[in-house]
């Protein structure tokens, strides 16, 4: 029931959810919280707190936009597994929808925003 309802209209993601989603897409199969945060900080030159990234990922997961799985333990982490997050098709759709909103609203503002 729920899944068919979800597939109808992808939700609009805002702010950090959008950013985290995009960062996770950059990383593909290697997306786990610490790496996602690194990508965000490297590309945006903005600081983002570790708990914020984590909470956002969990929230995206409950919304069904990403899914997570546990990887194999690695020695540098003291034998602990990584929790990899993968963007689901629904998440991709949500990212697209959010981007559409941004592009449609920004088109015609290039001169003011100085983007071109």
């Amino acid at each position: 029931m729920a899944s068919s309802k979800r597939s109808e209209a992808p939700p609009v993601v805002r702010d950090l959810e959008f950013i985290v989603l995009l960062a996770a897409l950059h990383l593909g199969d290697e997306a786990y919280p610490a790496a996602i945060r690194d990508v965000i900080e490297e590309r945006t030159h903005k600081r983002v707190s570790r708990p914020a990234v984590f909470i956002t990922l969990e929230r995206l997961e409950t919304k069904g936009l990403v899914s997570s799985r546990y990887g194999d333990p690695t020695p540098v982490r003291g034998g602990r597994a990584k929790r990899f997050f993968r963007v689901e098709p629904r998440g991709l759709a949500a990212a697209r929808a959010s981007l559409d909103i941004v592009t449609s609203l920004t088109s015609g503002l290039e001169a003011i925003l100085g983007t071109r």
Binding site: P51, F54, E58, T62, V76, R77, G78, R80, K82
Partner: protein, 906 residues
Amino acid sequence: MTMSNHERNVDAPWLAGWLLRWVLSKEAAEAVLGDLVEEAATSATSADRRVSSWSSWPRLWIVWQALLHLIAIRSARRYDTSSRYEPSWSPGPRRFDQFVQDTRYALRLCVRAPMFAVVVVITLGLGIGLNTAVFSVVNAVLVRPLAYPHPERLVWIAPANARGRDDVVMAPDFEAWRDRATTVERLAGYMTGSEAIDVGDDVVQARVAAVTDGFWEMTGATFALGGPPAAGQEGVVLPHAFFERWFRARTSVIGQPVTINGQQTVIAGVLPADFRPQLVASPAFVTTVSAGGDIDVYRANVIRPPEGPAVQIMSVMGRLKPGVSLERARAELESLRQQPRAPGPGPGPRMGPGKPSRLRVVPYADKLIGDARRPLLIVQAAVALVLLIVCVNTANLLLVRGWARQREIAIRTALGAGRGRVLRQFFVESLILGIAGCAAGLLVAWGLTAALVRLLPMAVPRLAETTIDVRVLLFALGACVVTTVVFASVPAIAQWKNNISNTLKEAARSASSSAWSVRVRSVLVALEIAFTVVLLVAAGLMVKSFWHMTAYPPGFAPDRVLTMRVQFSGPRYEDPRNQQAYIDELIRRAAAAPGVEAAGVGSNGGGFMLLTIEGEPDRPPDQKKRGVLSSVSEGYAAALGLRLVKGRWLTDREPLPVFVINETLAHQAFPGVDPIGKRLRLPFVNPSAPASESFGEIVGVVADLRYSKLGTATEPELFMDYAHARMGGTTLTLRTTADPMSVAPSLRTLLSTVDRTLPLFDVKPLDAVLADSIAPRRLTLLLLGTFAAAALLLVIVGIYGLVSYAVAQRTQEIGVRIALGATRGRVVMMVVTQSMAITIGGIALGLASAILSTHLMTALLYDVTPTDAATFVVAAITIFGTAFAACVAPAVKASLVDPLVALRYE
């Protein structure tokens, strides 16, 4: 995330995992923890921008991040309603909420009964604070390594003299070791003493250490300005405090000339403020400067080829090569010492092959700490007893409260609270009290440590280094945790034992349900009394020792005696005639000054003299009687209060050298014989002089007087007039008509005009000098006394609480007794008798433990045996009286119960 090749292994602290588990499933928590560990491990080496400030504390950083996650996830779940975000798998929220609930409830309880909370927090603060303060001293003195590179390999090297004491090392031995020893990495010689230094506007007497070249490398010294004197060159290094005080921190002083003891040298360097070498003072018979206190000036000690019979002497410290044992180093150094040297001036090895003096090589830290170890450990043990009493007392108080809350608990249980839930509530309450107590304890410790260092800096070597560092904080934390667990578990167990339905039915007054609790509390109070008895006995023994030490004979009034020291320096005073002229003038002016009754000089404790009695066969040095020789003036006896027993005292115009001895020496050297008229070999004569000129007659005997060191038995003593003696310095002793310190400044100004190049220093009343000589024992006494007083106070609280509780519980019974005709007196008797039975049990246990343990403090006692009966009796009576006083008030209150009210009660 990029991996660096130089990851270091970071272990996740359990605390971080525990925090995360509050809000996350095990798997999810582990994954987050893994992220943190990975980041800490890689960023520590990759010059990461944010973690870098934490890079020395990766584990702390992980805990901090875990806490941030905990808080963020908690609040996100609570406030994020938009996404109906409530994962079902997490057991965390309930647990966390309960914790918050328990905490709130406990805080409300504290606010509702503030006196209870205040008493508990003060008690805990006292116990934890005293323990932490004492540990901070133990930490500084016994635990923390010396501030030198490789402190564990540093050794003190000294030959033992005939009396088994550490002697000085001769320069040729030092050179042989330095040049040829293979077991020693580095050697440094030094000599501490007191020298006059000309600082431009003034001449000050300074504690000087003359150090050889290797010293600066051995201590790992860095320099704030300049550097060490070049090898083989004269030069002076100033510690920062002296540089600031006397040279006003002028950086231009480097390279400037300065005059020490009349000899010119240059200032080569200044040490940074935080550099404080710790030196064992050179043997005291060589120098008159007292041990302890920071060195004011370091001077280069240049070893020169010996000229004539004189040879340089020094104390030696060394750093062993890694892996070399003390015994191996000792054997090598000893063999180098015994080897014949190249012919030339100067003495060869001092002892013949038949009698090798044994060389000692001991860890430098042990030598530095000396006798301070045992008193400190005793004090630490005593203060641990105080903490035990605190635990017992707090447990007791909580039991009372637990009893008062039995009905509340019963109702909560009936409404569905599990046992675990109730226990957790109790634990959270104890935890909050424990945290508050710990905070109070840290405050107490901080204040007490500062006070100790200020009041008694000389009492223990290295005491001035005492600070509250990480180790001390960990200790305090440990003490808090242990205390809290101990005092919190007793009421929890009592609660566990309680039969809930019973409580509800019988309205918490069934004798059976509280009998266990009363029994537990009686045992606790008895234990508390026993611990207190031990502390009281220990403190009592110390007080009695003190009383014996400071019992002054009639006529000796050290609080009316002012002393000031002077040290001869410069070429002018190498001539004894100039010394005498100076002293004559000093005494003349002092005696004429207003407020001075009598004035004299005495080089007390100048050195030991081996006695050779005329007409007796000459014995080898180690079998000779010996005495402490002082060169004194005529006014000395009157100024100090020496009492003549026989013969006459010395005058300032003795034509020939004569002696006055004290009673101890008379008993030791002339048992059963009148010493007057006997002749002793003089100390300062040429051995080749004719016999008639090399002996001096004994003309008088004075009563024993301990005027330089209180903590020791009276030494055998000899006095001779200063005109016939040779001395490096002397102590001016003045009897004043008023408080000595009120006249001291004017006297000092007046007397310093005799010769401006000779500063008068250590201006102190004699009682202060005496007090300094027993400073370590004063510290021990002060601490033990404080602990005993604190324990006594706690016992009052404990007994009062116990009796009040028992009486309140028996209100109904007492009402019935009174209704049936018991008199009020009988009721008081009954209550008092029951509590005194507990007291007597506690006292008996305490006395038995004291007998078993006080022999440990034998070394601290003076003229008192560790099982001194009087002290034990006084301690027992004190605690008996205290317990009695504490239980009378509740007993009287019980007797005033109105039977009508009591029977209607409940």
